[in-house]
């Protein structure tokens, strides 16, 4: 899922300072699952904004709404009704939602309530770890299912580098060296000879190096 993190309150408040009527818009998609922008977080942020603005002597009307998703025009339709009632929206969806709102409702002032951080897994209660970088050209069939693009600080394709010590990465000691893990696993499988091959430089265009990425299913599009 897409992982996000609530933006620092002062930054959100700074964005909202000119407005008196604000909608805090949550999303029940990924950000709800990773506890960044679901029902509870919307309630907390709305309350925090109210309190802060009251303290600043410029009270504000804060409305709360949570949509099923914000990355789908259909689900955003309720916003059309809000337009007349509010001056600004703080979207707690990932950047996809904020962008889509901005695309679809150009006259609406929409501000991000979260920083969209990465694609990750919920490895433990309250802990999410990046597992994929969405580089568009999967190579983990070669690396025992472990992604060096997402999980190696240097994105090495022919790792590990000299900084791998005791299974840890030199860049951050709390970070396992993914190439160490890959090698362990390939060894177990008797496939270590895979690493004798030099992996050629990666084509970075599908990773976004070629600009906006678009996916189309001609059989699903409406002609």
């Amino acid at each position: 899922m897409i992982i996000a993190e609530r933006r620092p309150l002062p930054e959100i408040l700074a964005n909202l300072s000119p407005y008196k009527k604000i909608l805090v818009l949550g999303c029940r998609g990924c950000v709800a699952v990773c506890s960044a922008g679901g029902d509870r977080e919307v309630a907390i942020l709305a309350e925090a904004i109210r309190l802060a603005r009251e303290r600043q002597g410029s009270p504000v009307e804060v409305y709360e709404e949570i949509l099923i998703r914000q990355c789908d025009p259909e689900y955003l339709q309720p916003l059309a009704e809000w337009m007349s009632k509010i001056e600004a929206v703080v979207s707690m969806a990932c950047g996809v939602g904020v962008n889509l709102i901005a695309d679809l409702y150009p006259s609406l002032r929409v501000y991000p309530g979260v920083d969209t951080t990465f694609y990750g897994a919920n490895v433990a209660l309250g802990e999410w770890v990046e597992k994929c970088r969405g580089c568009g050209d999967c190579i983990i069939d070669q690396t025992a299912g472990l992604c060096p693009i997402a999980r190696c600080a240097k994105n090495l394709l022919n790792g590990p580098c000299g900084g791998s010590q005791g299974g840890k990465c030199e860049v951050r000691k709390d970070m396992p060296c993914v190439w160490h893990l890959i090698i362990d696993r390939l060894k177990e499988r008797g496939e270590l000879e895979r690493l004798l091959e030099i992996t050629p430089p990666k084509d970075w265009r599908p990773a976004g190096g070629d600009g906006l990425r678009v996916r189309k299913r001609p059989d699903l599009t409406l002609s």
């Binding site: 309150l9 002062p10 942020l45 309350e47 303290r55 339709q77 430089p201 190096g209």
Partner: protein, 852 residues
């Protein structure tokens, strides 16, 4: 001590400066650069060396600059952001300065896509503005991370580029202003051919007061050929080549001569534009044109160099000891922040809100400043947490209260009791439950109201007596009610009661039960009386359970005139009368087949085997004996995997059925997308005018069947494989071709009890919640559930009666009824069923859950 570059001195002296451009070779031959430098020497003040322009690999700009210097010519090195991150950029800049390069042009750089390594990873760690700032920061003694440069700082005359011809025009001067703010001291413009536009740009710059803050060098390129001019016009974004330039070249005897003339004329026209401080002549792969242009434009001779350009080797020797010192210092500085960062990151996740708050408060107090925002955030967190705890406590208290009541028999039971009843009683009980319709007489209503009161009295005084009391009470109370109703009705309408009386109300099952006589089904039944939630849950505050929907389900009308039935229209979840209006009760259609069923178990077959040879008789029996308010005709015989009967067969059957009964008809095709198009298109011609539903419509045949349905204005069954998104997608597809949402019944593809009913339930529930609470209008269509088909094909429905599995018929009936009721709970609005007793049971249950 500031060392001005020669270019900087020329510009600051107020003379028009002249620079040119050298493109390094795509090999390691230094002679190419030296030759070009020799050509230009004396005609230009400095020469600009590209940094792999258009992302094509060449000798690097800095290395080329050194080679140019060796020829006694001042270079302007280029630095782009495409190939280096901030580390590489800074390293190269330190090196360039150390080697004596004094002019630097800062660019974002062409995207790799345009070069000969399009699959290279584009770096773009910085952009040109950030780069300019970085260079200035370096000169002021700071690295990009804010760290101080100990020792000699690099020094550059900083340049940037600006394109007056890129759109939108109005932003260009502002962007230039931003570059000046970031540190640009001189500007090279994009190649100018459209002088008018360039003049406007310069006027914009003047208005913004930029002209005294920066030296602007106008970009000039002599067109070498017509082809080159056309290429620039049509293929280089942001390059404006007026047609007249191309015409002049096309009409010229000597194109090159004409190209030089054009360049000279451009210079003449541009040099008087206020703010133009010089020219940057980019004679691409045509360096020998530059001296000619400079001479003819009256820009020759160039000012002498005050300080001769000397080779870098000398400087390197001088700098060496200094470099050593710098390195050591940097190492020390680097170590500290790394440690600090590690500590911080380990601590963060462990901190709990309160601990964090205390820490922050302590820190804040120590510093004499507390972050108000963080304090507020903590308070908000605590407040939300407390609310949740309170809500949790409340519900715990409620639960305890309910348990107490259950155990000690105080107050009313919270659940509707189940009761074992023999068949005869069942009949009796069912009869009174016929919903008193609002249209009916007032007397009937009164009686209905009386009943629950009487019941209440009984259980209250003695808990132990309950079972008995109930058993007695019921038969007593109900028979009374029933006959009265009956009499009234029959007085008016005669023996064949209901269909006409109440189009919306379910017919009683009485006649059928009598006719069959042999019904041996023993079932556990609900009492079948509705008690409002407000009464059952009167100790619970309404706010604890009330959650009103914001959406509304479409109301679909099936059939025409008085016989039409309506489904959907709900503003709350099914049976949640306390939360919103549910204008239409749940409808059940009897399923009949176009052919004689092969695999129906005896327990089901016995009700229909006398009529199933003729669909017309079958339909008639359902309506007249069992009181069906709608018929679903399943065209099983047309299935290509079965008998594969032609469309004509279907037409015959549908004709017969439509002439036999006048209740709304649902025509359900074989499920083969292609065959259904063929069959249903024909069938619609017959059923269209009288109103009917056709289906199943799937994504592969939605266009044709959607169009057919629209033609007759009849609803369709949108059938999708048990998935929220697929269901929604099909609705959108249908809507896109013009089928309005109030003409769609959603068939979510259900599973019978024991055959995936949980999955069906959760998908249907999610769809319904999205429609009612998630503002998802594209899912706000009523559900149609083909219950009978799924239930009666299960193994369990057909297994013979035995000790383990019990009575075959009771089992089948319960399976069908349970599946139906469960899916009704999930949102089912129109149920298609087979067994008359199961239908009866369902009505009983529905009534017990419905408001009278």
């Amino acid at each position: 001590m500031e060392v001005k570059s020669h270019l900087q001195r020329v510009l600051s002296s107020g003379q028009l400066a002249v620079t040119a451009e050298i493109g390094p070779p795509r090999n390691a031959d230094p002679e190419v650069i030296k030759r070009k430098a020799k050509l230009l020497k004396g005609y230009v003040d400095a020469v600009n060396i590209t940094d792999c322009q258009t992302a094509i690999v060449r000798i690097s700009s800095i290395a080329s600059a050194i080679l140019v210097m060796a020829e006694g010519l001042e270079p302007v090195a280029q630095m782009t952001c495409r190939d280096r991150n901030r580390i590489g950029i800074q390293a190269d800049l330190l090196g360039a300065s150390a080697l004596g390069i004094r002019n630097l042009l800062c660019l974002t750089g062409d995207h790799p896509k345009f070069g000969n390594h399009p699959m290279a990873k584009p770096v773009f760690d910085l952009d040109s503005l950030q780069l300019l700032k970085l260079v200035r920061d370096l000169e002021e003694g700071y690295f990009a991370n804010g760290e101080e440069i100990k020792g000699r700082k690099p020094q550059f005359f900083r340049g940037a580029a600006e394109n007056p011809f890129a759109e939108p025009y109005y932003i260009r001067a502002y962007r230039l202003a931003k570059k000046i703010k970031a540190g640009a001291q001189f500007i090279q413009t994009q190649i100018i051919y459209n002088v008018d536009r360039f003049r406007e740009f310069m006027e914009d710059c003047e208005r913004l007061g930029l002209l005294d803050k920066v030296y602007i060098l106008a970009g000039i390129t002599p067109p070498k050929s017509v082809g080159m001019a056309k290429y620039m016009k049509y293929h280089v974004p942001g390059l404006d080549v007026p047609d007249e330039i191309i015409k002049r070249l096309e009409g010229a005897k000597d194109v090159r001569e004409e190209g030089i003339n054009i360049a000279v004329e451009l210079i003449q026209r541009i040099k008087d534009i206020p703010g133009v401080k010089g020219f940057h002549i980019m004679a691409i792969e045509w360096e020998e044109a530059v001296p000619e242009i400079v001479k003819r434009a009256g820009l020759y001779p160039r000012p002498e160099y005050e300080v001769p350009i000397y080779p870098f080797v000398v400087e390197r020797v001088v700098e060496r000891p200094v470099e050593m010192v710098v390195e050591k210092v940097i190492e020390k500085v680097v170590e500290k922040p790394v440690e600090v960062i590690v500590e911080k990151e380990i601590e963060k996740p462990i901190e709990v809100y309160i601990e964090k708050a205390i820490t922050e408060l302590e820190e804040g107090m120590a510093k004499g400043q507390i972050s108000l925002e963080s304090f507020i955030e903590i308070l908000a967190n605590l407040k939300a947490g407390l609310k949740q705890i309170k809500a949790g406590m409340d519900s715990v208290e409620e639960t305890i209260e309910i348990l107490e009541q259950e155990f000690f028999g105080k107050g009313k039971p919270t659940k509707v009791e189940l009761k074992e009843v023999p068949k005869v009683e069942e009949k009796e009980k069912i009869k009174p439950q016929v919903q008193p319709e609002i249209k009916e007489k007032v007397e009937v209503k009164k009686e209905a109201e009386v009943k629950p009161e009487e019941e209440k009295i009984a259980p209250e005084p003695i808990a132990e007596v309950k079972p008995e009391a109930k058993g007695e009470k019921k038969p007593e109370v109900k028979p009374e009610t029933k006959p009265e109703e009956k009499r009234e009705e029959s007085a008016e309408k005669g023996p064949e009661v209901k269909p006409e009386v109440k189009p919306e109300v379910k017919p009683e099952v009485k006649p059928e039960v009598k006719a069959e006589g042999k019904l041996e089904v023993k079932t556990r039944l609900f009492k079948g009386t509705y008690r409002p939630l407000s009464e059952r849950a009167k100790k619970v505050p309404e706010s604890a359970y009330l959650d009103r929907a914001t959406g509304e389900i479409q109301e679909v009308v099936i059939g025409k005139d008085g016989k039409a039935i309506k489904v959907g229209g709900a503003k709350a979840l099914n049976f949640h009368y306390f939360e919103g209006e549910l204008p239409n009760s749940i409808q059940i259609a009897y399923e009949i087949l176009d052919i004689k069923p092969e695999d129906w178990p005896e327990s089901l077959a016995k009700y229909y085997q006398d009529v199933w040879h003729d669909p017309a008789l079958w339909a008639k029996k359902c309506v007249e004996e069992y009181g069906a308010s709608a018929i679903c005709l399943y065209l099983l015989g047309t299935d290509p995997n079965g008998l594969n009967l032609p469309a004509n067969h279907a037409i015959e059957v549908v004709k017969k059925v439509t002439s036999a009964v006048d209740v709304p008809l649902i025509v359900w095709g074989s499920g083969n997308a292609e065959k259904d198009v063929e069959v249903l298109r024909e069938v619609s011609e017959i059923v269209g005018p009288r109103g009917a539903v056709i289906g199943p419509v799937v994504d592969t045949n939605h266009r044709t069947l959607g169009a057919v349905a629209m033609g007759y204005g009849i609803p369709v069954i949108a059938s999708s494989p048990i998935d929220v998104n697929l269901a929604k997608q099909l609705n959108i597809l249908l809507e896109n071709i013009g089928v309005s949402l109030d003409k769609i019944l959603m068939d979510p593809s259900i599973g019978a009890l024991g055959y995936g009913i949980e999955y069906t339930f959760s998908v249907m529930e999610r769809i319904r919640l999205a429609a009612l609470y998630g503002q998802d209008t594209k899912l706000a269509c009523p559900f149609i559930c083909s219950i009978g088909k799924e239930v009666w094909k299960t193994k369990e429905a057909s297994l013979p009666t035995d000790e383990t599995f019990g009575d075959q018929e009771e089992r089948g009936v319960l399976m069908e009824a349970l599946t139906a009721v469960t899916l009704a709970m999930a949102g089912g609005d129109l149920l298609i069923m087979r067994h008359p007793v199961a239908v009866k049971l369902c009505y009983t249950l529905f009534n017990s859950l419905s408001q009278a």
